[in-house]
Each structure stands twice: as structure tokens, then as C-alpha cells.
């Protein structure tokens, strides 16, 4: 029996193998353009950046292999690396919750009963599509000592505000506030869409069971929205770890290094200080942090994200 089945199976397997090979070749033809693009623009730069991080790699001139020297330098002796990591963490810790609360709040406020809600949505979305440089210039004019805020409080209450962008703590707070204002419209749209998709039958059942107000929101609506909250948390966390334009343009990373985040640190090392190797190493550290945090969030989602209704 066994020998027969083997004998029968053998040609069949060979036949499928040939067909499979032909199919593989055809498939390869179809995916080659995409694969070539991926290789040239993603795989090669990624591999190159790993190699770069192991070298003393000036912008041009002689390169020298130094193993993990760049990483050691970053963690043990570089004066700006730890502050940059700290600043990115502080920004993320402040920005992500604030952004989610504000954008979810806006989405809930702009419920179906609000007249002109489409216009409001557009209004709140405008900062997202406006170029960051324009946003920052407006905020600079608001926040400077001779700007609008200080002008109003001085004239109306004889109160002089601190020089926000020069103050070691206020500068970061203002970068966060400006970023929340700029970015809230995007998450608001996602929440708006999610709210409109809420199953009416579940909400109605909850209402019949007597759920009201806060209880309704925290026990029913929020759990139903949890996939959207999870998605926005992950994406917002990743984008906030990569924050660059706001501090670069608003505070220049200062005062001192009080608002210098990781990506700005990487940019400065590479293009101002021309230490490509050190910058590549820092970029890999940032990558590891982001991947680690994202993985943690995916593991934690089992506890609080409800995909089934």
C-alpha cells in the first residue's frame, strides 16, 4: 500500500512542481518592478544605514570601521543624546494623551445633532493640511514677547507673560500645545468616522438598560471605539517620536537643548556636524524604541481593545 501511494504521489507532486515553477516565474515577472523599487529605495538604504552606524562616517572623506563605537559614544559621552531621548519621551507623554482627548472630545462634540458639523470638521482639519512652516510662523507671532498673547495680557491686565519660547519648561509646553492644535483634526476625522459606525442596536440596548451620561460613555461608547483609539494611539505615538518640524522652526531646539527631540538630534549630527555614522546609530536607537513601544501596545491591546461586538 505504502509503496503504491508513494509511486502514485510522486508524478503528481512533480507535475504540481513544474506548474508551480511556471507560476512562480510568472509571479516573479509581475512583482519584479515593485521588488526592484523596494530593493533600491528601502532594502539597500536600510542595510547601508546599519553599516554606516558601525563606521566613523564623515559626510565625505575617509571612513573608519569602529564597531559599536558610535553607540557607546551616544550612550556614555554625548552631551545631547540623553536629553534628546528625554525630550522625545516628554513630548510623546504630553502630546499623545492630550491629542487623543482633544480629538475624541471634538469628534463627540461634533455629533449628528450639531448643525454645520461638516463646516466645523473642515475648520478643525485646516491646520493639518496647512504647511507646518505657516502654522509655526503664526504661533511664533502669538507667543513672542512682543506677540499677540503678551500684548493682550499686558494691555488688559497689566500682566507680563513669560517669554514662552525661551523658557526651559514653557518652550516644551508650547511645542506640545502647538502640535496638538496642528494635529488634532486628523485623529478627529478618524474618531468621527468610528462614531458614525457605532452599532445603533447596541447603543439602543444600553439605553433601554438605563445607561446614561458618563456610564454610557465609559462602559459602552469607549469600548466600542477601542479599535479606533488603539489605531490612533499607535500612529500618534509613532509620529510624536518622530517630531521634528515644530521644535526646529518654533524653538530651534532651545533654549539650550530643552526642546531638542531625537529626530532633530539625528538631523543635526548628520547635516550640521557631518557625523553620518553617529546619526545612523541614533536613528537605529530611535527605531528600536519605536518598534519596542509599538510591540508593547500590540501586546497590551488584548486587554482593552474589543474588535467583536
Amino acid at each position: 500500500m505504502t509503496s503504491i501511494s508513494v509511486a502514485e504521489a510522486a508524478p503528481r507532486r512533480r507535475g504540481r512542481g513544474e506548474l508551480g515553477k511556471a507560476e512562480s516565474r510568472q509571479a516573479l515577472g509581475f512583482i519584479t518592478p515593485a521588488l526592484a523599487g523596494l530593493t533600491v529605495f528601502t532594502v539597500v538604504p536600510v542595510v547601508l544605514s546599519v553599516a554606516m552606524s558601525l563606521f566613523d562616517w564623515p559626510a565625505w572623506g575617509d571612513r573608519e570601521f569602529i564597531g559599536f563605537g558610535n553607540y557607546v559614544d551616544l550612550f556614555t559621552s554625548h552631551p545631547d543624546f540623553w536629553p534628546a531621548l528625554r525630550n522625545s519621551a516628554v513630548f510623546t507623554l504630553l502630546f499623545v494623551p492630550l491629542n487623543l482627548v482633544v480629538s475624541l472630545g471634538l469628534a463627540l462634540l461634533l455629533g449628528p445633532r450639531i448643525r454645520g458639523r461638516a463646516a466645523f470638521r473642515v475648520l478643525f482639519f485646516i491646520p493639518v493640511v496647512t504647511p507646518m512652516v505657516a502654522n509655526v510662523l503664526v504661533w511664533r507671532m502669538l507667543l513672542q514677547p512682543n506677540g499677540l498673547f503678551n500684548g493682550v495680557t499686558t494691555a488688559a491686565f497689566d500682566l507680563t507673560l513669560p517669554s514662552f519660547l525661551n523658557h526651559p519648561q514653557w518652550a516644551m509646553v508650547m511645542v506640545v500645545i502647538m502640535s496638538v492644535w496642528q494635529g488634532m483634526g486628523y485623529n478627529m476625522l478618524i474618531f468621527c468616522a468610528a462614531i458614525e459606525q457605532l452599532p445603533e442596536s447596541v447603543l439602543e440596548a444600553a439605553r433601554i438598560d438605563g445607561a446614561r451620561g458618563a456610564q454610557m460613555f465609559f462602559r459602552v461608547t469607549l469600548p466600542l471605539l477601542s479599535p479606533a483609539v488603539f489605531f490612533t494611539t499607535v500612529m500618534t505615538m509613532i509620529s510624536s517620536m518622530q517630531v521634528f518640524a515644530q521644535p526646529q522652526l518654533l524653538t530651534g531646539g532651545g533654549p539650550g537643548n530643552a526642546t531638542l527631540p531625537m529626530v532633530m538630534f539625528i538631523y543635526e549630527q548628520a547635516f550640521t556636524f557631518q557625523q553620518m555614522g553617529l546619526a545612523a546609530a541614533a536613528a537605529w536607537v530611535l527605531f528600536a524604541v519605536i518598534i519596542g513601544l509599538t510591540a508593547l501596545q500590540f501586546r497590551a491591546q488584548r486587554r482593552w481593545v474589543h474588535y467583536e461586538v
Binding site: L35, V40, A59, P79, Q144, S163, G253
Partner: protein, 420 residues
């Protein structure tokens, strides 16, 4: 099992193509195009009027070199050096590359050293240029480019504010005591007497003039923590502490003092001779004046600054590039930049045309100020990482103005970080 070999082959082929692309630097834009060589000239330009002025110079160079196809590329000043660094990394540097004298130390390896032979090819006679101007484009005694302008730092002042407060206007040969009195006298509830800065020579010039010390010593070593220089820097920061100086509102405002001056918000600021024409014709509509840096104990140390053009070391057709260089710093091009008042040319014979471009009412004052500012100047000394030192220091100085640290600490830390 899926056969992965073709996949690997594709990836490897893609990698080979990409690496090959990295490994063959294009020759800085020099290629044969129907018998005509192309030479790219890379320069900074911060606005439409800058670009127009460059195109006028380009037209001169093209006319003088009909057998060469000359192309102009430009980027704003702030981005120019980032772009240059990127171009260097990819081996794609323009044959004729503009360079600022203060930054040459960090880029000199990218340039072709110019000997008498190269100067002869370009048709350049060093005697035609202002004394000491070749130092601007030299590093360690080797010439890497030809200067197109020379510059010195000046004190610009708002005559209207001096008249309004009844403060005597500064005069050539004034002292630091006069400066202190002027800053105090012109400060009112409405405006500060002086615009503080965090940009390189906009802040460093006064401490250098006061102490008579450059932050890099004769041996080329960083000397930021020199006690006399540090004392003078302390004095500079005190202008803000005493309430006479307008402080930049953030570290992103690298040109604060000059901007505030140009907007008519402060009575005095430090800036280079390159902006003299801009300030004289300011849009805020005030009457602008200028004077050399104040002196301490009868002496003041000013630095001669400037920019020029060099030939990239890996330029494929150096001869064509040298000819273009010769035209760009030639008499016609120099006369053009002088008579437009855009910068003070390095070529001596073109210099009088600069003053001729100014209004008759201010011509004598500007000429006297320039003469004083360019007297007894020293070449600027710098280290290889001079640009980085300044980038690192700027946001720190902001913290000094806000009282979170002291200038002594900032200078000490920067010295420790960069001075080896």
C-alpha cells in the same frame, strides 16, 4: 518549498545597481555636450533679487567663455551648506563652488588648492585684489578659492532713535564707554538700545573687539575660555541684563538683532558690511547710520571676512572651471556687484564703484566708516569644526540671556566639547 533563489537574485541585482550608482560620482556637472563643456556654478541666493544679480554675473561669464556652457544652481544661505554637504557625500559637487571664508576650514578638502599655475589659467593677478583678501579663502597657508567680496562687521544705528532720545550719534573711532552710553541713552519704554544676537559674528564681534582676542588662538586652537575673551563676552551679555538689549525670543531666531534693527525696533545692531546697502534703503523708513566697532584702550580688533569661489577637487575639467572662475571674479563681474551695491568687491579697482552706487548724502559717511572698519583688520582664524561650534553654541546663548546659565559656563562647556 518555495524557491527563493530568483528572489535573492533580484534583490542582489537591485542592490548592485544601487551600489553602482553610489560608487560613480558624477563629475560635478562637467560633461561634453556637443563639443561644449558644461561647468556648474553653485551659489547661495536668498531671494529673487539675489538670483537676478547672479544671473547678471552669469551672463558676463558666459559672454567671456563662449565655448563653455555655464549653469547656475542656487540655494538659500541657510540651506546652502546642508546641500553642499549632501552633494559632497554623494560626490556631486559643482565645479565652481561658492564658499564663505568662515566655513572654509570645514570644507577645504573638497577644494582644489590654487597655485600660481591655476591662477595663470584663470587669468588672475593677486595684486589686483585687496590686501589680505586672499587670506579669506586660505586655510593653513594654502589658497583654495578667490574672494569676490571682503567684509567687516559694523555697528548699524537708527539715526531717528538717537535724535528722538537726544543721544549723541556714534562717530568713527568711538569707544566702548561711548557704546554703553549710547545703548543706555537710546533705550526707552518703546524700544531697546541694542539688538542682541546669537549668530556667529553678530554676537562675537563686540567681545572680540573689546578683548582684542580671537576665540581661536595663533596656533589654530580653540580658545573660547580665554579669560579676556570671556570677560568681554560677559560684558556683552550684560547689555541684556541691564535692560538695554532686545533678546531673541527663541533659539530659532538666529538673526534677531539684525532683524529687529531692520524693522526699526532697536537703535543699534551689529552686522556685516554686506548689508550696508540693504539697511540704508530699509523698508521701515528710518534714517540708517553706520560706524566701525568701538575701541577699547585706543585699539579695536576687527576681522576681515568674506566669500569667494573655489574649484571642486574632483572637477573633471579644471581648466574650463578655472576660466569660469576667472570671469566670475574678473573686472566686469566685480564692477557689476560693486556698482549694484550688493557687496564690497575684493578687486581693488572695483571698490570705488561701490560707494558710487550709494546716495550722495550718505556716500562720504559710508566711505569713512568702511575705511575705518578695514583698517588694522586681522584675518579670521578658525578651526576645522568652526561652523559646528557656532551651531552648538547658538541655542546655549539663548539660555544665557534668559538667566538659566552663564556665558562663562557656555564658553567653558563648548571649549571642553570641541577644543581638543
Amino acid at each position: 518549498m518555495m524557491n527563493t533563489r530568483p528572489l535573492v537574485a533580484v534583490v542582489a541585482a537591485g542592490a548592485a545597481v544601487a551600489l553602482a550608482a553610489c560608487g560613480t560620482p558624477s563629475s560635478g556637472g562637467t560633461s561634453s555636450d556637443g563639443g561644449k563643456f558644461t561647468v556648474v556654478w553653485d551659489m547661495w541666493a536668498s531671494g529673487e533679487s539675489d538670483v537676478e544679480a547672479l544671473e547678471a554675473q552669469l551672463a558676463i561669464a558666459r559672454e567671456e567663455n563662449p565655448d563653455i556652457d555655464i549653469q547656475l544652481k542656487h540655494a538659500p544661505w541657510d540651506d546652502y551648506f546642508t546641500k553642499l554637504t549632501t552633494n559632497l557625500a554623494s560626490g556631486d559637487v559643482a565645479c565652481v563652488t561658492s564658499m564663505n571664508g568662515q566655513r572654509l576650514s570645514g570644507y577645504h578638502e573638497a577644494f582644489l588648492p590654487l597655485t600660481e599655475e591655476e591662477l595663470a589659467t584663470a587669468g588672475i593677478d593677486p595684486d589686483d585684489f585687496a590686501a589680505g583678501s586672499f587670506d579669506i579663502m586660505s586655510h593653513d597657508g594654502t589658497l583654495y578659492g578667490i574672494p569676490y567680496d571682503v567684509a567687516a562687521m559694523l555697528v548699524y544705528y537708527n539715526k531717528d532713535m538717537f535724535a528722538e532720545t537726544g543721544t549723541p550719534e556714534p562717530e568713527v573711532g568711538w569707544t566702548f564707554d561711548d557704546f554703553d552710553a549710547a545703548a543706555e541713552g537710546t533705550t526707552t519704554d518703546e524700544h531697546h538700545g541694542f539688538g542682541m544676537s546669537i549668530g556667529e559674528f553678530q554676537w562675537m564681534s563686540l567681545p572680540i573687539a573689546r578683548s582684542g582676542k580671537q576665540p581661536v588662538d595663533e596656533s589654530g586652537a580653540l580658545a573660547l575660555d580665554d579669560p579676556e575673551f570671556a570677560d568681554a563676552a560677559e560684558w556683552y551679555v550684560d547689555i541684556a541684563d541691564k535692560g538695554f538689549g532686545s533678546v531673541p525670543p527663541s533659539a530659532a531666531e538666529t538673526g534677531w538683532g539684525e532683524q529687529e534693527y531692520q524693522a526699526g525696533n532697536v537703535a543699534m545692531a551689529i552686522d556685516g558690511t554686506w548689508n550696508a546697502a540693504t539697511y540704508l534703503g530699509n523698508e521701515a523708513g528710518f534714517d540708517a547710520g553706520m560706524v566701525d566697532l568701538p575701541s577699547q584702550d585706543g585699539e579695536h580688533l576687527g576681522l576681515v571676512l568674506g566669500s569667494g569661489y573655489g574649484i571642486s577637487a574632483d572637477c573633471a575639467d579644471k581648466e574650463a572651471a578655472l576660466k569660469v572662475l576667472g570671469s566670475l571674479v574678473g573686472e566686469d563681474a566685480q564692477n557689476l556687484i560693486a556698482s549694484s551695491g550688493r557687496s564690497y568687491p575684493a578687486r581693488t579697482s572695483s571698490q570705488p564703484l561701490y560707494f558710487g552706487s550709494l546716495d550722495e548724502g550718505v556716500r562720504d559717511e559710508v566711505e569713512a566708516t568702511f575705511e575705518a572698519a578695514f583698517t588694522g583688520v586681522q584675518g579670521q582664524r578658525s578651526t576645522d569644526d568652526w561652523a559646528q561650534i557656532n551651531e552648538a553654541m547658538s541655542p546655549q546663548i539663548i539660555s544665557v540671556y534668559t538667566g538659566d546659565t552663564t556665558i562663562g559656563d557656555v564658553l567653558g562647556q563648548t571649549q571642553q566639547q570641541f577644543g581638543e
